[in-house]
Symmetry: C2
Subunit: 646 residues, 2 copies
């Protein structure tokens, strides 16, 4: 797709965007404010701009007269960039250049860090744990009538230089017919050991040559959703991906309520069955999509948090939720996936990502492995933000982790007009530093219904930077605008008037909403800070941030740093890995190196229970400000704030 340069006047800010991008989103990315409150439907008509050179597609409406159209006036939200262009924003009040400096920082999301299979290959790390080997055995005769298993094992030792072999009963059962159906041409599926002194497990035997059909499944067992990928082990390709809501949702939204359910009579069995049923439905989908033979799947790598893993394996999770928060196990032995009810051939081996503690589970370990942070020099902070946030800090030499409860603010909970990231959610926001009029962006470019997590962060950030709220999240009572008002003793800002919404109510951001946001970000930041301090470092030493989980992809990084959710580092040094759990599971399927490393990585990850770490409460209290009691920790923000005061 062509990149086009759009120059916004009078700010004189350039931005490069792909052809087809809406002009108003280009402005947002440039950090240029345009009043806009209808979510991009063209109904509020506030986002009038004037095209000075170049052209855009669309942007005309009956609200703009033909004469004005001729003069280049367009609605920014309806205009699509079609080439380089210069666009002037009408500045309605008399402002000087310094006003333009009050604009928010340009929008920056984290670079997406994808698993690069080619790099894996180049590094010589494409070593699937499971390999298929073709054997041409000689048939038995009177002089050589050794048992079938002996024939196979001897051949592997003498002709294929394969040693330390181990077989299971199901493979032995299959061997006589597999040998004879293929006229003693046999494909052997071999699982490689993790340790050099380990055994080569013969997982499967098939008649004839099936070496080009060798598949693995990676499966992320999330509390809310379960995702699976079907991976071709000969090419490394992902052939199919599918997801489904975890059937356990009906028994509780979060891990704690699930554990409580599991403690009821029959509850553990039920939750086990329900999650296995979702796993099977996801498995059906990816097998169907990829059109492969279920028989050719050799491994399924599961990753999930500690509770999800225990429920999947039908292990009583009651001690997870009770102090001192003891999970049952870190490492699980490989086992036949069919043994726990997975609808798969009886040879397929289930591998489970190890857990670190009750609240830092296999999903996080998978993310650490998949992101490669455990192999790098840089001091990296790994964050998986949800209702619970898991934090890992470290590098190739050491790793420390913890988990904290952020509360549901980032998922729309405890916020008056909060909602999950779905169509109609305000996901981005800007504010005019003079008029306090907003520019809003909704998911799906429709009229707003509510505010999602990333919208909330951005609102707080730009309002704080412009001085609409103070560092305790309280509105400036002196600003002259109808948008800041007191209703039933609660101060609030009207993000969208009811005529502009889908819900026929004013959408507002309240001080209690901001309190909740500050508590959530404070919990996370102070978690990071405590963790880093406990290992004897300071936050400013963090060189790299990795965000995982669905939430991380939309966060405007500069805004997240402005409110003190993330420590302030160069946005280029923040990457987003998406579903780190699934990525790690897929990585493990592709390279035995990960399986080899994961044990030592897990052992290396020092877990801190924040409730047992005295400094956590002090750090938490210090983090209950925007961005923090000590603004020195955020030097860029401090500089911008000081510039603004001049």
């Amino acid at each position: 797709m062509n990149e086009c340069t759009v120059t916004f006047l009078p700010h004189a800010r350039d931005i490069s965007v792909p052809e087809g991008e809406s002009l108003i989103r280009a402005a947002l990315q440039a950090g240029v404010h345009i009043n806009a409150s209808c979510g991009g439907e063209g109904v509020c008509g506030k986002c009038r701009v004037q095209l000075e050179s170049g052209s855009v597609d669309g942007g005309t409406t009956e609200r703009i007269s033909d004469e004005d159209i001729d003069k280049g006036f367009r609605l920014a939200c309806l205009s699509r960039v079609s080439g380089d262009a210069t666009v002037r924003i009408p500045i309605e009040s008399s402002v000087d250049r310094s006003v333009m400096n009050l604009q928010a920082t340009p929008r920056r999301t984290a670079k997406i860090q994808q698993m690069d299979f080619e790099v894996l290959k180049e590094e010589g790390l494409f070593i699937p744990p499971v390999e298929k080997i073709l054997l041409n055995l000689s048939p038995p005769d009177a002089q050589n009538n050794m048992p079938d298993v002996t024939r196979l094992v001897e051949y592997l030792k003498l002709e294929a230089d394969e040693h330390k072999l181990e077989l299971t009963l199901p493979v032995i059962r299959k061997l006589p017919s597999a040998l004879r159906d293929g006229n003693f041409q046999l494909t052997v599926t071999m699982m490689r050991p993790v340790r050099s002194d380990g055994k080569n497990l013969i997982l499967n035997v098939q008649p004839g040559d099936t070496t080009d059909s060798n598949y693995a499944v990676a499966m992320d067992i999330g509390t809310t959703t379960i995702y699976g990928q079907l991976i071709d082990l000969t090419t490394g390709e992902c052939l199919a991906e599918a997801g489904d809501f975890n059937g356990q949702i009906s028994y509780g939204e979060d891990v704690i309520t699930r554990i409580i359910y599991a403690e009821k009579p029959g509850g553990l069995q039920k939750l086990h069955e329900v999650v296995v049923s979702t796993i099977n439905s996801v498995l059906e989908k990816i097998i169907k999509k990829s059109k492969i033979d279920r028989e050719d799947i050799s491994t399924i790598t599961f990753s999930g948090n500690t509770t999800m893993t225990q429920l999947f394996l039908q292990i009583d999770p009651r001690n997870i939720r009770r102090a001192p928060y003891v999970p049952t196990a870190t490492l699980y032995p490989p086992f036949a996936a069919a043994d726990v009810g997975v609808h798969i051939n009886e040879h397929a081996i289930a591998l489970n990502y190890p857990q670190v503690s009750s609240f830092v589970g296999g999903d996080i370990v998978a993310g650490v492995m998949g992101s490669g942070m455990y192999r790098n020099e840089e001091l990296t902070l790994f964050l998986d933000i949800g209702t619970n946030a898991e934090l890992v800090v470290g590098n190739k030499d050491w790793l420390a982790c913890t988990a904290c409860s952020a509360g549901p603010a980032f998922e729309g909970g405890g916020v008056e007009f909060g909602m999950r990231a779905a169509k109609g959610a305000i996901e981005d926001f800007s504010i005019d530093p003079i008029t306090y009029e907003p520019m809003i962006f909704t998911i799906g470019d429709v009229r707003p219904k509510g505010i999602c997590g990333s919208g909330l962060i951005t609102m707080a950030a730009v309002m704080f930077e412009i001085g609409v709220i103070n560092n305790r999240g309280k509105f400036n009572r002196d600003h002259e605008t109808a948008r800041i008002r007191q209703t039933n003793d609660v101060w609030e800002y009207v993000v969208a008037w009811k005529e502009e919404t889908q819900i026929d109510r004013d959408i507002v951001l309240t001080e209690p909403d901001l309190d909740n946001l500050i508590r959530a970000k404070g919990a996370i930041y102070s978690g990071c800070m405590t963790l880093i301090e406990e290992v004897g470092l300071t936050m400013d030493m963090v060189e790299r941030i990795i965000l995982a989980g669905g939430f991380g992809s939309y966060i405007d990084l500069e805004k997240a740093m402005t409110i003190g959710l993330l420590p302030e580092i160069d946005a280029d040094r923040v990457t987003f890995i998406g579903n780190g759990s699934l990525m790690g599971a897929r990585m493990s399927s592709l390279t035995n190196r990960i399986r080899k490393d994961v044990v030592s990585v897990t052992q290396k990850m020092t877990n801190f229970e924040l409730s047992e770490t005295p400094s956590y409460m002090d750090n938490y209290i210090a983090a209950m400000f925007l961005p923090h009691t000590e603004i020195e920790k955020f030097p860029r923000l401090k500089e911008r704030m000081e510039a603004r005061k001049k």
Copy 2:
């Protein structure tokens, strides 16, 4: 029980027998013939003897006048030895001392070789593969909240010096409650590895101290019967034993017909289910008898022939019965017994005795291990005689084995009045060298119904030695006795007249019966000979014979050597181990040494397929005589035969 000496005149033979033994059996053991044909019921009245000194209990009957009773006359079959005594056998015809030299050799059965647990202990070999260890763990607290499995493993490593630990999912599932139910006092059941580089498998975890309840099961899966023993691993004692007919009998008497059934649709599944069902019934019995908790059983060691093992493990046995006779496997991995349908706790591990070939199976390997022959210097011949005979020869340095089809003669098949060893079967026999009148002994001392294997061997031996039959098993047509006659062109000897039987028919031994016997013993002897020749030795080098299987216990050894079933060696050097398969299974349960040795022993056992060994047919033809074409191979017999000619 007191031993009493009985002296028989005019032979002047002494025999020492326990008080209460019948006088006629004492005579048999002394090699003294007394006419007797009613099986000991006192109805034929032929076994009149005269007490010359000492006394006996009973022996009087209305057939003996009071006057004769006063003279000391008694019926030998009704008299019980009650002290030292001298008894005269009335010699009805005029005979000289040389006649008495024509008497058969004294009866000799093999010494019973029992597993001696005390010896095992003394040799330091009481090392059960499974051990229970008591641990006193410290409960978790805020400073030490490692996962339960980690707590267990760390404790085992640091406090109990246990390393290379492996856990299974069922144990992990059980651990949280086991730890807490026992207040962190925990009994761990550990299975020791066979090889020094192997792993210690944690089989079970139980709350509190259960170290005094550690049990194993030994189970022999025979084609006809299944026997189980429940073994206390703390004392080595056998707490209970039980057996039952293998439910597969309804689907075929022998292994070949079972294999044919298994090839039918659903047949394998059916035979698997049926044998597992018998196993479960035997298991129920021994658990009930021993009053132990099923939960405390840690291992079940199975031994069975190759076909029984494959049917039990549900492995298609079709290639066993087809040239080149390929079994599926030699060694089977340990697996959870519950996985194949055994009604046992999910932690109990099934261990299977390895197979050598299609016809030398785990039952024979178990016998070799149980008898200890693989640890001795002496050249030993191990024989398990049934419809199929399995032969093993060797010592601690080498072992060779084979199997041959003896046909059913020893089990009563192909013999006109043949029957299994059951009540009413003639099991022992003697013949008067002058009158050719018989002395018969039946199982249960009742009137005869037929002839069992050991009876058949003895008849052929004594008839051959006395000259009633020649070395091709043909009756001497010149003897003047009504007992040797021709009926429908077939020569036969009347063993019991119909009035003396339970079946109201003359019980006879025919030349075709003798042909079958000679074929059966010839197959076994020539099997042994071929095997020994193939390893470059000769039969006279055999120093020790071990008999296994039900048949071996009743065989009169000298008679078996006389007909050339066994090579001629000192009867003291023949031992009987009974159910060698069960004995081996029990031994394995008691000492890991056996489990360690069995792999190398199995690999060391060179298997010969007789059908592929050219010399077998020559040896077979040479063995189709009594005792053999070359009587030089039987020097003691030759000496007796020559003495008789003088």
